[in-house]
Amino acid sequence: MATKGFDKEAWIPTSCNGCFNVCAIKVHRKDGKVVGVKGDSSVLSSKGKVCGKSMARVADLYDPNRVTVPLKRTNPEKGIGVDPKWKEISWEEAMTTIVERLDKVRKDDPRKLVLANFDLCNMAVVSGFGEGFGTPNYDLYNATYCGSGLHTIFFLTLGTVNSEIDLERCNYMVLWGAQLGLGANNNCMRAIDNMAKARKRGARLVVIDPICGHAGAKADEWVPILPGTDGALALGMVNVLLNELGLYDAEFLKRKTNAPYLVRPDGRYARDPQSHEPLVWDPVEKKAKQYDAADVEDYALAGVYHLTDGACTPAFELLKQHVRKYSVEEVSRITTVPVDTIRRIAREFGEASQIGATIEMDGQTLPLRPAAIDFKRGVNAHKNGYFNCFSLQLLNIVVGAPNNPGGLLGTNAIGPYSLWRAYKGKDGLLTNNHYELARGAAFFSPYPPKKAAPPDSLNLMSLFPATGFLPAMPHFTMHDPGKFRLPYKPSALIMCRSNFIKSYLDPRAIADNLKKLDFILAFARQIDEVSEFADILLPEAHDFERYWTFPANQPLGFITPGPGKWYGQIVQPVVDPPPGVRNWLDVLMDIAERLGILAGMNEVINRRTGFDVAFELGVASEKLRPDKKYTVEEICKKQVEVYTGGVPYNDEMFRESAAIDFYPKSIEESFPGPFVEGRIPIYLEHLIDVGEDVKKVTKKLGMDWWDTSPYRPLADWRPCPPFESKAEGYDLFLANSKTALVAHSLNAENAWIDDVCKRHRMDHYILVHTSAAAKKGIKDGDMIWVESETEVRVKGKARVTECVHPKVVGTLGNLGGWARGKPIAKGKGIHSNSLIKFDWEMVDPVSGQIDTCARVKIYKAGNNNE
């Protein structure tokens, strides 16, 4: 039955989900069909602009390859390329089977159920299902997309999940393995607008990346770097700033970081014997004082002080001495960046930060640091990713850029209504409640660290007490539960919009994992690579056809930091789904009802959506009742009431605009740097204890192979495992970059996007540097093989170019699909993740980050298609 009013022509405001960014859009409905998309000019997230992916969403909606009926696999054999031999079944048959299978799992051991999804804004429902069911394993998803190191470091140093340069004030912008404002990355449309204005204003853009992608193309200076060596370059630059130029923000370091904390010879803080709080040295009174004592006249950053604990040194002095080993010459050898370039960029960055400068805002005088380094997956996706990110962040920290005007802003350390908060935690260091709120999306609060314990969940969170994000571990634990002393073997999987067989490492390993499961339920719009392994497949609604929980733009990640306002965006249906197709979350709630787990589920939803708090405060009229099954639409509308402080949802609210405004951000919310009390660590003292703790627990478990050596308080660079490989002939490294049109593998299965990419000079090609091509006799346009040490090879067309590091083979987007249900994406471009080794040696034992480096060789494909 058609929804009332859906036959009327209108522009319906909603939020796009062409990538994870949820920009506000308006969708044109005519004769019950979607005929166009434009930006919603009333909302800051798009200001009336949209990207090509969004415009092309009409082609997703009307793709005849969409799944519209429940399907059952009839071929018991599973594998890559194996035809599931689908058979259409009724919804009732599907639901009966699903409930029967899941019920069996639940009675056996509920922890054996795994949920994988990338519905970022709907984690409350998904985690509710997981917890209601009784499994801790509800956060497996697109494992290599973002980062265990990255998000953890942002937690520690910015007090939140993500980062963005303050583009409105920054004069020296460094994008390092990131493309903020260039068509990829966070808050996409607003960042593009701000970046364009910044560049027009004359701000300088330096891009450090093995590939000259969209960011490199617009850079004033593109610095090609060998993949995975970013941490070394950053530490070399810290060395230049601290030891060659003496260019750093001493005031910031003294008052806003743990740089003055005194460190004992054993690496731990010197502590006050009574309070056990860390000590600093007051050079005026010449005595040690508690770091937060009101009477500290000044903080020593240098020198050695003899306390009862022995000779103690300020953390800053330790860092300063430590980075000496990253001499510019040595760093140049590691990274291939010329000595002069390293020195010059370090100096430019330091000078541009205008240490000491201030700006008047809102009647307050704030520090102004118009230089910032932003970094994302390129820096993070290495075994040393955690310390790579920390090393880069040290550059921002020593010039005082974090959370200050002009510098690097955390994505809203302090959120609306103080729901999101960053504050002073253990030992005076920065901590926040964000990661607990984002739980369900593989986030865990990394500070203060927890105690290590034998693992109970697939993500092994109890063996990673100092990390904040663990999406990548379940594939390892599913592969070999015994190795990790997991007391059970997973047996069932529910997945939605998480094509992890394409977004993870070597698909052969993932295929093995999937084959071992007894039952797989997939919700799918297209039968993608991972859905080919499903036992039952249910059709999923397009986001133009469904509600989401509210707001679509969680301020944790989807509202541009800095001045502006708080607002909440809706995802509401524009048209009806094809007959029989439903919102997967509604189906999930049906399943919950039939399994009898509604009470547990609703309790979690109450907690994660804020219904609990709102109800207590009298803002919400009621919270979810334990025995009642709700729809996503009902939850969404209830949340509107919560966010508006008690104004009940009505149909007019989202008729003209995709968002409702809460209130303008205060100066504290815009620039939390000067206001938040927690200090930023430059010295990770807590890692010493965590390392020892993990060592004890793993040893007791008989897991002596678990490496705890990287648990060190000072940042270091370590080479990626493939760097040390002895295999002969693999003379090149693999690197990948995103494009504005293909942010996720799902974008590749879009007829319009494909049609545009096909004509492009780079998109479907393998980038080979001119010199490497000459050496191998490869000409532009030749078919070539890229073969990795794991003896996997992929074939594609070579683009001979200067836009890639000479030692690197470059690939773009997540392409090279093979699913028969995605005929458009199939065989387009290459799938570079196939070349990456699935091996525990690729995992960082501190953060759980996996390395995506690979050593490869290239050669021409023969005539007989060989």
Binding site: H28, K30, D31, K33, V34, V35, G36, K38, G48, K49, V50, C51, G52, M55, A56, V58, A59, Y62, P64, N171, Y172, L182, G183, M189, I192, D193, M195, A196, R199, K200, R201, G202, A203, R204, H214, G216, A217, W222, V223, P224, R347, E348, E351, A352, P370, A740, L741, A751, W752, I753, D755, V756, R759, H760, R761, T770, T801, E802, C803, P806
Partner: protein, 210 residues
């Protein structure tokens, strides 16, 4: 009288192709047919390599070579300077394709859809059933009539495209023409394009260290 012109700031364009897609959505062009698209050029060697994005569309030339060769007068320049094709008159002889130095015209032999037998619904149906003709950008003539800007201009997230009437001295394009150094593609062909390219004269918020 008016004389439409478009200025494209190459320094700002990031090659995102929102314009390409907006054009496709606006007109419902068929697979492989693009009235607006983005070219890419690479120049130089590391460390001085430049990757450049160049958005292109019909130049709506003041002296269009395509019009000159069109035997049926299907291709004509209207009073506002838009070069249009009357699809009723076009016989698909392709003379204009050879004559146009900018390679932005496409001969459409048969109407095709992205999905077999399932046309994607479009806001407009201007091209439904139009086959055996040459097609190209019409500067969103219908949108202009409604007081809207061309789709590629409205969508561009970097706002690198400026559109307006050169005859109106108050318009942004007239001001740009006067104040900014700009160039047209292949001026030596004598076509006098209405599409101008420019590079932002960037102020220096940051002074580079020696």
């Amino acid at each position: 009288m008016s004389k439409y012109a478009m200025f494209i700031d190459l320094d700002l364009c990031i090659g995102c192709n929102a314009c390409t897609m907006a054009c496709k959505a606006e007109h419902g062009t068929q697979p492989g047919v693009f009235w607006a698209f983005v070219l890419e050029k690479e120049e130089g060697k590391q460390p001085d390599v430049k990757r450049q994005f160049i958005p292109v569309l019909c130049n709506h030339c003041e002296k269009p070579l395509c019009e000159k060769v069109c035997p049926t007068r299907a291709t004509h320049r209207d009073a506002k300077g838009i070069v249009l094709i009357d699809y009723d008159k076009c016989v698909g002889c392709k003379a204009c394709i050879s004559a146009c130095p900018y390679n932005i015209r496409t001969y459409v032999k048969r109407e095709e859809f992205y999905f077999p037998n399932t046309p994607i619904p479009y806001g407009v149906n201007e091209l439904r059933g139009i086959e055996g003709v040459v097609q190209k950008c019409n500067l969103c003539a219908d949108r202009l009539k409604n007081g809207q800007e061309p789709a590629c201009v409205e969508v561009c997230p970097t706002s690198c495209r400026t559109f307006g009437d050169l005859e109106n001295p108050e318009s942004d394009v007239a001001k740009l023409k006067k104040t900014v150094k700009s160039f047209q593609l292949l001026p030596e062909m004598g076509t006098e394009p209405s599409v101008y390219y420019m590079r932002t004269d960037r102020k220096r918020a940051f002074v580079r260290a020696k």
